[in-house]
């Protein structure tokens, strides 16, 4: 799977309260959640993300609450993939579960510029910055996680496994 998109950058310790502020947790429609993605840091994020973007974060991206609504809001706002120096573990698991690719990519926050065009090869973990020509190697996702992403998330994956009696 190859993912292309413009980079939109955030710093260290981006928490789930800014990714999706608490008051919106009452919504169950993913498109409603998407309207408020990243509202705590950038009120216009959803507008910018609509064309399809790749979020680039620093250390500990997604820290804080266990709200699965945070990666859902990003995904439905148009985020195709998140690259970061490191992820908070619940956010990381939730992203895989809902089918949003997340890659640990050392050096990404310093190398990639705001708005740079990125090409990410999920299978190999290769990250190319077409704007400044740099190439980075993200940590490859394990096979069982790739299978979940290929199926579009954990539910589809479980359904397929039940159907095929795996």
């Amino acid at each position: 799977m190859t993912i292309k998109g413009k980079a939109t950058k955030f710093g260290d310790n981006v928490d789930t309260d800014v990714i999706l502020p608490g008051p919106y947790l009452v919504h169950t429609d993913p498109n409603e959640l998407a309207k408020h993605a990243m509202e705590g840091l950038d009120a216009k994020f959803a507008e910018r993300a609509a064309e399809g973007v790749i979020v680039v974060g620093g250390k500990n991206f997604g820290c804080g609450s266990s709200r699965e609504q945070a990666p859902i809001a990003l995904k439905y706002a148009g985020v195709k993939c998140v690259l970061a120096e490191s992820f908070a573990r619940i956010f990381y698991r939730n992203s895989i579960t809902i089918g949003l690719p997340v890659l640990v990519c050392t050096g990404v926050s310093g190398t990639v510029g705001e708005g740079d065009m990125l090409v990410v090869e999920l299978q190999t973990g290769k990250v190319e910055d077409k704007t400044n020509g740099s190439v980075l190697q993200a940590i490859k996702l394990p096979e069982f996680i790739m299978e979940i992403l290929d199926d579009g998330g954990l539910i589809e994956h479980l359904k397929r496994r039940i159907e095929t009696n795996e």
């Binding site: 800014v18 008051p23 705590g40």
Partner: protein, 421 residues
């Protein structure tokens, strides 16, 4: 093996496990609440399984927006309530029957040493204080647990935090915890397990130990565990009819690192906006003005917390221009606080008392901050917009420091407040 490795080995039917290994563990208890439950239920329906794997092991607690704060939250409660009915979930704590989920779980006997417990809430790590491996998961992963009773985990590297020294007067487990969060950092224990031990922990009450385990997630940790001792067993046995077994780390257990902390000279600590690891001694932030003060939450809404705040507030009035919100974490704590006269002390001082629930901690209702306002809170997060406007400010401190600050209207060292004789 250390205690976390032992629990995960046992839960996955293995003799031995080591860090990095992926295991599938049998789950002993699975908890959802009103904000993560509806999504878990939706995902459970999509998977297509008709019945939860074990209706005695599913616990449902309404606590985030309680009683319902809007039509939309009332609808969420309705979804959860009818699921509890349909699945015949005995352990369903509706409005007025429980309180904050992480208090209700141990209080009602759903937490035992050596168990693997998951909750669709990040502060599920609180139950580590009882020697359980407990961690937060997402809603859809919870749906998978409901369907199968199992979940995969990567066996974590474990950092041991060894605490020694006797705490000074008015220095509480919250101050110790904030100090450790400041030292380790918001990402210092990412993907790791934390094990808290040492003489300071042994001296602490169960209420105090729960503060440390509760905030393990604020360092990125998967779990924050404390070896059970007689205090743990006494607490747990009084609340469950099921068999209770102790589990401890082997003397030759391996750790990624050991952090030694001497708590004997610690002064009250405060986490300054907008990150939990931005921790300073209270002397460095004194005089910052506050509009609101909050005592409650899964971190510090227990009886010991209310007692220490009441001691400071006894016979005093809070400052004009400050509102003090006190929320006991459970019905049981609320009743005990009434019996001990603590609630009267708070009300005489000018506080408002909320029913047991999460309250202002997550900016859901009951004390949302306006633009430019500042709150000093006994809760666990001070992120941008956590308690309301993205232009508001949250300082985290112990219930004693929050109480002292409510009296003066600015951040205040509780040791400077003269107690009533």
């Amino acid at each position: 093996m250390n205690i976390i490795e032992k629990i995960l080995a046992n839960a996955s039917g293995k003799q031995q496990v080591s860090p990095g290994e992926i295991i599938e563990a049998n789950i002993d208890a699975a908890m959802i609440h009103d904000l993560t439950g509806p999504l878990a239920i939706k995902s459970f329906r999509e998977i297509g399984t008709k019945k939860v794997w074990d209706n005695n092991k599913v616990i449902i607690i309404l606590d985030h927006l309680v009683p319902a704060s809007s039509i939309i939250s009332a609808n969420l409660h309705k979804i959860v309530r009818s699921f509890a009915e349909e699945q015949n979930i005995k352990n369903f704590y509706d409005v007025g029957r429980g309180g904050v989920c992480h208090q209700v779980m141990p209080e009602m006997g759903h937490v035992r040493p050596g168990e693997v417990i998951v909750g669709a809430d990040s502060h599920t790590c609180t139950y580590g204080a009882f020697g359980a491996f407990a961690t937060g998961i997402g809603s859809t992963e919870m749906a998978a647990v409901f369907a199968t009773g199992k979940l995969w985990f990567r066996v974590p590297e474990v950092i041991k935090v060894n605490l020694t020294g006797k705490l000074q007067k008015m220095v509480t487990p919250k101050d110790v915890t904030l100090n450790i969060v400041g030292e380790i950092g918001a990402d210092g224990a990412i993907y790791r397990g934390l094990e808290f031990g040492g003489s300071t922990i042994r001296e602490m009450s169960i209420d105090g130990r729960m503060v440390l385990s509760n905030m393990a997630v604020e360092m990125g940790a998967k779990a924050g565990i404390i070896e059970p001792d007689q205090k743990t067993l006494d607490y747990v046995k009084a609340r469950t009819d099921r068999q209770v077994k102790s589990v401890k780390s082997d003397p030759d257990a391996t750790y990624e690192k050991i952090v030694d902390v001497d708590a004997s000279n610690l002064e009250p600590q405060v986490a300054v906006p907008h990150s939990v690891d931005n921790v300073k001694p209270v002397s460095e932030v004194e005089n910052a003005e506050v509009d609101q003060a909050f005592i409650g939450s899964c971190t510090n809404g227990r009886l010991e917390d209310l007692r220490s705040a009441a001691k400071i507030l006894k016979g005093k009035k809070i400052a004009r221009g400050v509102r003090l919100i006190v929320i006991p974490a459970s019905q049981e704590i609320y009743l005990n606080a009434l019996k001990e006269g603590l609630i009267k002390t708070f009300m005489d001082a000018g506080a408002t008392i909320g029913n047991p629930n999460c309250g202002p901690c997550l900016g859901g209702h009951m004390g949302i901050l306006a633009e430019g306002e500042t709150c000093i809170s006994s809760s666990n997060r001070n992120f941008v917009g956590r308690m309301g406007s993205s232009k508001s400010f949250v300082y985290l401190a112990s219930p004693a420091t929050v109480a002292a600050s409510a009296i003066t209207g600015k951040i205040t060292d509780p040791r400077t407040v003269k107690e009533e004789a």
